[in-house]
Amino acid sequence: MGERSDRAAKRGYRLSRRAFLMSTSAAALAAACAPAATGGNAASSAAATTAAAAATAGPALKIGQLLPFTKVYAELGNSMKRSTDLYLKLKGNKLANRPVTVIYEDEANDPQVGLAKTQKFIDQDKVDVMLGVVATPIAYAIRNAVDSAKMIYIATNAGGNALTRTTTDCKPSCKSPYIFRTSFSSYQISEPIGEYLAGKKGVKEVFTFVADYGFGTESQADFTTGFTKNGGKITGSLKAPLGSADYVPFVTQLKAQPTKDIYSFFSGADAVKYIQAWNQLGLPAAGYRMNGAGFLTEQDVLAVVKDLANGAITSLFWAVELDNPENRAFKDAYQKEYGRLPDVFAVEAWDGMQALDQALQATKGDTSDKQKLIAALEAVKFNSPRGAFEFDKDTHNPIQDIYMREVKTSGGQTVNTITDKIGRVTDPGK
């Protein structure tokens, strides 16, 4: 972190200095102009207004962001931090007129560390709200801690179904009035594409191939639910250990079975190796078609595999190409600040801040009355870069549109082209 955080710190310092210069020069300008117009009196009234504005600025708002900055998901954490910083910068570092301090902690992709840092947010930093967490097990691990501390926590990536569901004995996790989620549940990115393939695309049979861990298994089950609901048949399944060194043996097996449509859940490095092996063994030419939950072909993967992923159909709640005013504005701002396009993780973190912002506006910045803040969050509605966003009041999982995307390459750019949309998908909640 050394270099990066140094730079970040310097940037923060520069920013605050710039902000300071701007505000002082604005005051000076006002002071300089005012006497010319109405004489000395106005100068003092201008000063009084400034003082009044300072006085009405609420107490500092402390936000704890628990993100991975080391280990395998570090880049996801970096992206979410960039998005958070940008949001606050554009809001003049204030939410509902309260100046904001964000404390970033590294969950190091370890539930124990994540929980220890959560306890730090609660007991030591006494943050007003908490956001973040990339890996589902960490969200499950901190669930009881935030629930019993009545700490409002907005999950900004972890997508395990159980986090916003009613489950027996709360295993592996369960919903809490204090937990909201601005990302997705694995149901939302897996079930609709099952319905869609069987229904709209008329696919009769699918073979599933997923990463052998909690999330992959969940995605496979949810896809199966959707696909069989519309009359599709699952002909078989295969799992690869998460982080397998070599995907060729698995893809050899895919090719050795006759079903041409494959549904997959992989992300990051696993997705890259899978797609490379898929092409090296000539599956496209042999008539096989790749389908999957959206992370299979997100930007981090496409940046590496490029046109090798052409033709893959995946479902997600966002795509960088999504054409709406909010997404355009978001992309422009992000690109301008960081010189690169935002990714889906940036959107999740952005919406976490946006939901919090809007709820705080409703409570006039009050975070002490938890029930009031929960009610305000439940009532939040806004247009996100992903489209219309609101929380399901029952589960606190988002109600959101799910887009069907096809990977296409034109002019050297490989992108997820949106081909269809399934409106207002809600997690069943149990």
């Binding site: 280990k71 052998d212 060194a245 070599d246 043996p249 050899t252 050795a256 490095a269 190796k273 090296q280």
Partner: protein
């Protein structure tokens, strides 16, 4: 499984084994010569892959990277050995322990260097031109790069074996494995010999980084995966000998591949079980000279 599928998987297992051999060769060499299990081997491998990434991006050539990355890593070895390993001569365990610390630092260094295009993002080393296509074998397409890997692994094994048996350096190495003190008494500069050995071992890790990266990819955590695979290979094959590394990779590669195919629910544990079995029945490893204990 049809015969064609079995043939394909055998080929997969063979090429995976070849990659494992390239991966484990440096670890085996350093151990055989210096009695040091270099637990930074995985980190050296990772560093080699990232250096190769930068070189490939700068020059556009995989082949340049194949030369440069091992050299850079050999240089790292040349610095590390006198700085950390030599001063702990005679304290074998401590020599191993400093390499743990070293591996933590190297992996973290790579994560922090996103200004070099490294960092924590998923990266991949593109396949070299000419080896990026597939050819039909046994009724199905097969990637030429994996065939290249098999050939490369075999060539490396032959080359190392010739160097080992036919050259003066090889003679010193063979003598060093037998008795370093005797060598020193005979007036050989063992400091230089060990530094050189360590550098070559590190260079081999870097070489593995270049050759394996197009298949295994570049991401945080790749160092630990590579280290564990190479440890298993050298333990199964027999520590500290070239033929042991060959035998180990020839067993572990296909066993891991077929294991994943036939018993996917045990995929992760399988290679460790193989290792435990081998040790139970042959405590020296398949071709080892040294018993690991009594």
């Amino acid at each position: 499984m049809t015969f064609e599928d079995a043939l394909q998987q055998a080929l997969n297992g063979l090429s995976f084994g070849a990659l494992l051999f390239i991966l484990a060769a440096g670890l085996s060499l350093i151990f055989g010569m210096m009695d040091v299990v270099n637990l930074a081997h995985g980190a050296f491998y990772m560093l080699g892959a990232y250096v190769a990434l930068s070189v490939t991006q700068a020059t556009g050539s995989f082949w340049v990277a194949l030369v440069i990355a091992p050299l850079v890593l050999a240089l790292v070895g040349l610095v590390v050995e006198p700085l950390l390993i030599r001063r702990l001569r005679g304290r074998h365990l401590d020599q191993v322990l400093v390499t743990i610390g070293l591996s933590l630092v190297i992996a973290d260094f790579i994560r922090l260097r996103d200004d070099w295009g490294w960092g924590a993002t998923v990266r991949s080393l593109p396949l070299p031109a000419g080896l990026d296509r597939s050819i039909p074998i046994a009724g199905s397409d097969y990637p030429t790069y994996r065939l290249f890997v098999i050939a490369f692994g075999a060539a490396l094994a032959v080359l190392l074996s010739v160097l080992h048996r036919r050259t003066r350096a090889g003679a010193l190495v063979r003598a060093g494995v037998g008795d370093a003190e005797m060598l020193s008494a005979l007036g050989v500069d063992t400091d230089r010999l060990f530094t050189l050995t360590f550098a070559i071992g590190a260079g081999l890790a870097g070489l593995a980084g270049v050759v394996a990266a197009p298949v295994f990819g570049l991401q945080p955590g790749m160092d630990v995966d590579a280290l564990i695979y190479s440890l298993i290979v050298v333990v199964v094959g027999g520590l500290g000998s070239l033929s042991g590394a060959v035998a180990g990779s020839a067993v572990v590669g296909p066993a891991d591949t077929f294991g994943k195919v036939l018993f996917p629910q045990f995929a992760l544990a399988l290679i460790f079980a193989i290792m435990a079995l081998v040790l139970l029945f042959r405590p020296t490893g398949l071709l080892g000279r040294v018993r690991i204990g009594r």
